[in-house]
Symmetry: C2
Subunit: 307 residues, 2 copies
């Protein structure tokens, strides 16, 4: 009954990054995401560096991934090499495991005789699972703590956990990680996964994080789950073939996907977090009073006005 | 590269309830879920009461939901009435919002003129958002705390949070909730939602929880996301029509889905939780040392041996 009314309110509460504009106020006491974003200053929106933006074109549409070279520079460089040598074109979504990951790469990657050549990309890389020292990075700390780490927050749009001098991007919904074999140095970026369920935070510090999906999770998370163990597809025809993967920097400006991401060090982002922590309105009569790192979506927008 | 090896290990770490049997050891130091479950005593497996088991038959297969009458008795009773009067047969999946919910019910539920009759079911129910007092209930407390509540654990298979004398089923992946309008008493169970993403714990204590999906999340979570605001489907033909919904108790024993759930007060469940908290093997060199309530899947099995 009256589901839409209910759900409009549920949405206001859910704060999905991808649906900011869809929010219905319904006499809120707490400002809605839509209201807060409408007041955001232009400077609060960040335009990702095209050298860090990956376009993965699937039959169902485009997925946009922002690489995290400040966190895994060697992996970002190797992934750029793989992209520029067209390694990913024609590779496939090979695995979808419910409430865990969607993974893509060369379905024959395990078979050294049949595996696609990595071209000039490196086959192994030093593990970049966490960050110790290095250049300073922005960090907007969240107030409510975390089950897994002493401190969590956001850094340039990425959900970050840290413990003393060590920091890492957390495996939240949409985080893109680097599949590897047993050896810590066996990941190279030729097989990547995106988190499609409850944040499997026990992957943190055991795998390199390449970046984060900023557009297209609605596609990556909706593929049929695979019938084989771990969600691998039973039959080759079930795999989804990737049309092409390109770096935004290599795409003519006029053909690029127009996307901006709200700065996570902005006052509007802080207001969104607080509005979700303590949302109280006609529907939400009991604010949580808390918020978990992976419950916070980072809003994005299309500044072009075009679809 | 070598994705399967990697992912076998990732799976062992991820502990999805639906894939227990799929786990590959690969010289673990920590016992794998498969190893632990193989040693579980028969008495550690619970056979849900058929009065609490809902079969929702979708074109893609069957979803099995266990109702939680100890937590929302009036809602459970109303849902049983709706099922027995065939209310849900022919209703539809009307909304799939990425990283939030899949919702089903009467697409015309908002239109009083067109809405399907609730038959003898009640149109409004007292809110059963939390539980205060009442009969004692089992509670297996988790050791690592929670961002949202002072205490979390499991009770008869349900993920539970509590604060002083008040307790509620948490909105984890697979939790089934009761959609409602603004008024706290406007939910009646005729429109239900399942959580398909990061646990939106800020729904806790604001909505009644009807139960939990114990089979079929792989179907509910994989429907195309809706193009309308909040994930409603743009076009009626996008909606998935529910073939029928029945209570297991009303289905001949021979035709029932054979399913058992691991007892969450069992020593094997405790061992699974500990193995995930501190998993250390050739792949996972840095155990999380912690675990979040909604990261714990409750294993189920088919004791019949038949598919």
């Amino acid at each position: 009954m009256l589901a839409r009314t209910c759900l409009a309110l549920a949405l206001a509460c859910a704060l999905p990054a991808s649906a900011m504009a869809a929010d219905a106020p319904a006499k809120p006491h707490t400002p809605t995401p839509k209201e807060l974003l409408a007041k955001a200053a232009p400077a609060e929106w960040r335009t990702p560096d095209p050298q860090n933006l990956v376009y993965m074109d699937l039959p169902q549409g485009r997925v946009v991934i922002e690489l995290a070279p400040d966190w895994s520079p060697l992996h970002a460089a190797n992934i750029r090499t793989l992209i520029r040598e067209h390694y990913f074109d024609g590779t496939q979504v090979i695995r979808v495991q419910d409430n865990f990951v969607t993974q893509w790469g060369d379905p024959d990657g395990d078979d050294k005789k049949k595996a696609k050549s990595l071209g000039t990309a490196k086959e192994t890389l030093p593990p970049e699972f966490t960050r110790k020292g290095g250049k300073p990075y922005p960090f907007t700390r969240l107030p409510d703590g975390d089950v897994y780490a002493p401190e969590v927050g956001f850094s340039d749009g990425f959900p970050v956990a840290r413990d003393k001098g060590e920091a890492w991007i957390a495996h939240c919904y949409g985080t893109v990680g680097v599949a590897r074999d047993i050896g810590a140095d066996t990941g190279n970026g030729s097989s990547l996964y995106a988190i499609i369920g409850q944040a499997p935070r026990n992957l943190d510090r055991n795998l390199a994080v390449a970046g984060k999906v900023i557009k297209g999770m609605d596609l990556l998370a909706a593929y049929p789950r695979g019938g084989e163990p771990m969600g691998f597809y039973d039959k080759p025809e079930q795999r989804v073939t990737i049309k092409q993967v390109r770096l935004a920097a290599d795409v003519p400006v006029a053909e690029r996907t127009s996307i901006q991401v709200l700065r996570t060090d902005s006052t509007t982002f802080a207001a969104l977090v607080e509005a979700k922590r303590n949302r109280k309105d006609a529907f939400y009569t009991r604010p949580a009073g808390k918020i978990d790192l992976c419950n916070i979506g980072v809003p994005s927008r299309n500044p072009s006005g075009k679809p």
